[in-house]
Amino acid sequence: MRATTHKSIRDLKRQWRQVAAVAVTIMLGVMVYVATAGAYQNLSASYQETYDRLAFADYVATGGVPTDVATAATDAGASDAITRLQVDPPMLIEDTKLLGRVVGMPTDAHPTIDDVDVIDGDYFDDGATDQVLLETHAAETFGIGPGDTLQIFGLDGWVTVTVQGVVDTPEYLWPARSRQDIMSDPHSFAVAYAPEDMAEQWFGEGPNQALALMPADASAADGDAVQKAMRDAGATAITPWEDQASNATLSEDLDGFDEMSKAFPAMFLIAAGVASWVLLARRIIQERPIIGTLMASGARRGRVLRHYLGQGIVIGAIGSVLGVALGMLANRAVTTAYTGFVGVPDTVIHNYPWMIAIGLAFGIVVGILGALGPAVTASRTAPAAAMRTAGSSKPPGAWSRMVARLDWLPVSARMALRDIVRSRKRTFATMLGTVLALVLVLTSSGMMTSIVQAVNLQYTEINLEDATVAAQQGAGVGDALADVDGVSAVEPTTLGQVTIVADADSYATLLHGYEPDTTMHGFRSQDGSFIDLPTDGVLIGQAVIDLLDVGVGDSITLSTDAGDTDVTIAGFLDEPIGTSVYTTNDAAATILPETSAEAFALSFDDGVDRDQMRQTITQLDGVVAYQDTRAIISTIDDYLGLFWAFIGIMILLGAILAFAVMYVTMAVNVVERTGELATLRAAGAPVRKVAGAIAVESLLATILAIPLGLWMGAVAAQQFLNTFNNDLFQLDLMWSWWVLPAAALGVLAAALISQIPAARAVKKVDIATVVRERAA
């Protein structure tokens, strides 16, 4: 083995703790990259596998004559197109009334588009009349399976059907009724696939949807052509697969993984690069006389450069190899946990060679970049100058002179203030570590707290009702509801599907009708104030401003099965979840088709037993569906459970990042100042005071970086949230009052903990040896 290789190995071993800290930071960066990039790829592949296997529709069109629309689609290049009926009728499952969904399906064979995967029981018997296939989320919620019965409310009243099988379906991997209803009380929604003929018979109507499947090699232009053909054939609203409610919701998370796979590893790798730079730069300063001697002896610059560069590469390689190994395990764990949580039928776990190569390259490149500056410095060392071990010949700067005037401060405080600029690399690294840790923590926690606050806003200030009830028209349910013990207010409401059309653009959503002086809904304007429901015109969620290029005062068309109605936009609303249209009940009645159902919004007395309310109200004659708003919050809380775990991990990683960087800078600080520390100790200064002086300096750099870190964390968190904002979510960065102080205190705690090894190093200083050597 070469002597320089021996030297490198021994150098790294001698500073193994600092080397380990840098390697661990690189490892975490690579691990987070491999885990998140892998999870993104694997989750995408898992969804795609299910979509391909079950022929997830590329386009679902409503309006016009579905058979004509389907024919137009195949004529225009779709590989297949079918029609089917989809209705949202009341259902009764295990004594719970809800507004379900019935989707027609052939009994003689599986549908060629939007197929189902029977996971329990069987597919329909050919020609079946009283069988349904129940979507798995509803089956789980109600605890029913093959052989159990449920009731569906049709034109002729309740129809009892038997569950033939429990199915997974690409349309409801996330059980969302619509893009406006992606979070719902699990007891308020169920999807049952019924024989198409029977469904048409129960509801007295024929197919109302056309589904098109594109060839695997279809281009975007091919898709546009098919959509145009479907519109030309009469379709009023077309939902591409990307916008389908379930897929769009899940894509939000996928995009999150994609963003994380870029941003989060970068933070670790930058931190590791800087820590490595500080570490090697210090080593090279220490070894200047050795380098000078080597070069005076004829060592070539390139050889010196490679020697120090090699050490960076070794640190990077150790970190990246470990990071890839752990990342592969984390990738598997994240993918499995996620697909299990969501219930994706197909789980694809693959460690992509390119991903591993990038992970390895990341770590090694960081090692090289961290070592490059110091190595170049080393290779440019002038031998004579390097061997002259000059003392502190650098004159004091303006800052040092200014601090000298602050003689009311203790000397140790003045020392800390001056040391901030004494080693700018070290201060920069400490500050960068602080900033990156705060960005990591605040981005993660900001996303989380913003979601929680958005949910609170949505369900405590906007959706003010405690429950909603769908009832048969004219059954006197409104009066009966008002008489229920615990109900404090009842208001009629209206709900229906509409398509907003503005010039060539359209957007399918829900139309809500309320009483003009409603107490069941808060209309939050774009400036955050609450406004009244206008009697003239409609209020719409602000996402349509960009989607449809419309403004206040513009006229739009609301298209329904009853026809088109032109209305004026009276204002836009800032609502965190969903993008709906709001108007008065009277106006809504003129827009929506007549139905045999009516809806009510209820508010309850404080402290009522909500399960009891559900049971009592759903027993009332004429009540066909009940949805508890609080149960939605509970669902969201469940959903967020997985993400709290994620936030916890990110905060832990942020703390490790802060600790690792600060540990390296502290260790370097102690090494740089060993002579001073030993002198102080020789004079009888106790370890705690000496270590305290060093800690004050490090904490000062941390404290100085905290405002910057909080600001950058806020900016990064908002940017991260913006990637999620669309018509489904409108998230503004909202933090609880404690988040910023807690993040700052957390980083300070990490900084404090990182002082412990430094204090130990101060204690271990061999005073006798050090004081005889010239302080470097």
């Binding site: 003392g391 502190s392 010949s393 650098k394 004159p395 004091p396 040092s400 000298a404 203790p410 000397v411 140790s412 003045r414 020392m415 001056r418 040391d419 004494r422 002579g675 001073e676 030993a678 002198t679 102080l680 100790r681 020789a682 004079a683 009888g684 200064a685 106790p686 370890v687 005071k689 000496v690 002086a693 204690k763 005073i767 006798a768 004081v771 005889r772 050597e773 010239r774 302080a775």
Partner: protein, 244 residues
């Protein structure tokens, strides 16, 4: 045979009995000190000389409580210091010992005044108000607010002397105090040490420069870990007359 020097050990004196110091173990063991018996009287100015690696610095470090004897007893300023824990050794050094090093070891980010004040602050002994007087006493009254980089080597070493005096120690230990200085500057420093000795402090100077021995009350020669000789100097020279 190691000569034993007898003197009355007062509270500013030093008494070493059978002191050994071994670095490393087994085949790699280095016996730096081999059974040193030494008495230094209160207020003596002793110069310890010897070739490189003879053990003179180790002897100085053990007296100053920054190194520990492997065996033997060490009594300094009336305190037994062998086997003490680091915390009580800190207190011992604070109360009794002042160090002056070859390379000054000043903190570059502190002014001359602050380099002295920081010792008062960190040890809790001494008075910051007296720091300017200390610096004036080493002829640095007009350089108090200068940083080390703005001082010459001799001036830096004078700051180090003032720093060593900040806690009003009984014993001053100077390890090669002139090693990094030219002759005139070295003389100034020796003069300062001589003045401090005349004030009644015990001063122990460790050096390989035999010329420095001219100012000593007693010259102790250490060779190969043993005291080879201890010679009383009846007519110590004035520092200004020393030459090398």
């Amino acid at each position: 045979m190691t000569p034993t020097v007898t003197a009355v050990a007062t509270n500013r004196g030093v008494s070493l009995k059978g002191v050994t110091r071994v670095f490393g173990t087994g085949d790699a063991a280095v016996h730096a000190l081999k059974g040193i018996d030494l008495e230094i009287g209160s207020g003596e100015l002793v110069v310890v000389i010897g070739p490189s690696g003879s053990g003179k610095t180790t002897l100085c470090n053990i007296i100053g409580g920054i190194d520990a004897a492997t065996d033997g007893t060490v009594q300094v300023a009336g305190e037994d210091i062998e086997g003490r824990n680091p915390g009580t050794l800190d207190t011992f050094r604070r109360d009794h010992v002042g160090f002056i090093f070859q390379f000054f070891n000043l903190i570059p980010t502190l002014t001359a005044r602050e380099n002295v004040e920081v010792i008062v602050e960190m040890t809790g002994k001494g008075d910051k108000a007296h720091v300017p007087d200390l610096l004036k006493s080493v002829d640095l009254g007009d350089k108090m607010d200068n940083f080390p980089a703005q001082l010459s080597g001799g001036q830096q070493q004078r700051v180090a002397v003032a720093r060593a005096l900040a806690t009003d120690p009984d014993i001053l230990l100077a390890d090669e105090p002139t090693g990094a200085l030219d002759l005139p500057t070295g003389r100034q420093i020796l003069g300062l040490l001589q003045d401090l000795h005349r004030e009644g402090r015990t001063v122990i100077i460790v050096t390989h420069n035999v010329s420095v021995a001219q100012i000593a009350d007693r010259v102790i020669t250490v060779v190969d870990g043993k005291i080879e000789s201890s010679t009383v100097n009846d007519n110590p020279a004035d520092a200004a007359d020393v030459t090398w």
